[in-house]
């Protein structure tokens, strides 16, 4: 059982109490997924833009500005 249709069909066959348990399980998983903090991985374009700004700032500083 791996597709959503198969899982829905199986869930249909569960008694009410187990349907509620499944609902709680999914709600907890979903909340966790949505609030989980993930480290920022900068894209090549983001890094290039950050370096361009940083190097321009470094140059400005060396020029005494």
């Amino acid at each position: 059982m791996s597709t959503l249709i198969e899982i829905e069909a199986a869930a249909d066959g569960l008694p009410s109490a187990e349907k509620e348990e499944l609902l709680r399980f999914l709600a907890i998983r979903l909340r966790k997924e949505r609030t989980e903090v993930k480290p920022r991985i900068y894209s090549e374009a983001e890094v290039a833009a950050m370096l361009a700004e940083d190097e321009a700032d470094g140059e400005r500083f060396r020029q005494g500005r």
Binding site: V37, P39, E46, V47, A56, D57, G58, G64
Partner: protein
Amino acid sequence: MNLFVDSSVALAACLSSTGGSRLIFDLARAHGWALIVSPWVLREVRENLVAKPPEATHVWLKLRKRIIIEDDELAFDWPLVFSITKDKPVLCTALACADILLTLDRNDFQSLLGETVYGLQILTPGKFLQSQREAGRILPQR
């Protein structure tokens, strides 16, 4: 003065020897700036360096010796009008231990750059250096 170094600044310092970020690391000791990161920032730097040339990691190992590591703060007592969850650990930790948060991350800190949040200034390294120069706090360079 306590400066919290975001991963974007640490990464820039590793990748460029001529940028404002590297200048911050180079000038810190002489100017009494304490450079602070947290385990969260260390993790972000490490994960971003994986895709970079090995020299960048060698530089980071040297720069790391100049920084102080403070514990992560994942929550803050006062309300934060800050919608981006992924940067909250950085902001919360900086609020707990620093005067200024240095970042180059314009995507996630865009609305806060140049602003002050509960007394914490959020600046790019370039703006910080400029402010120090304008305040006459930059020592003559040899």
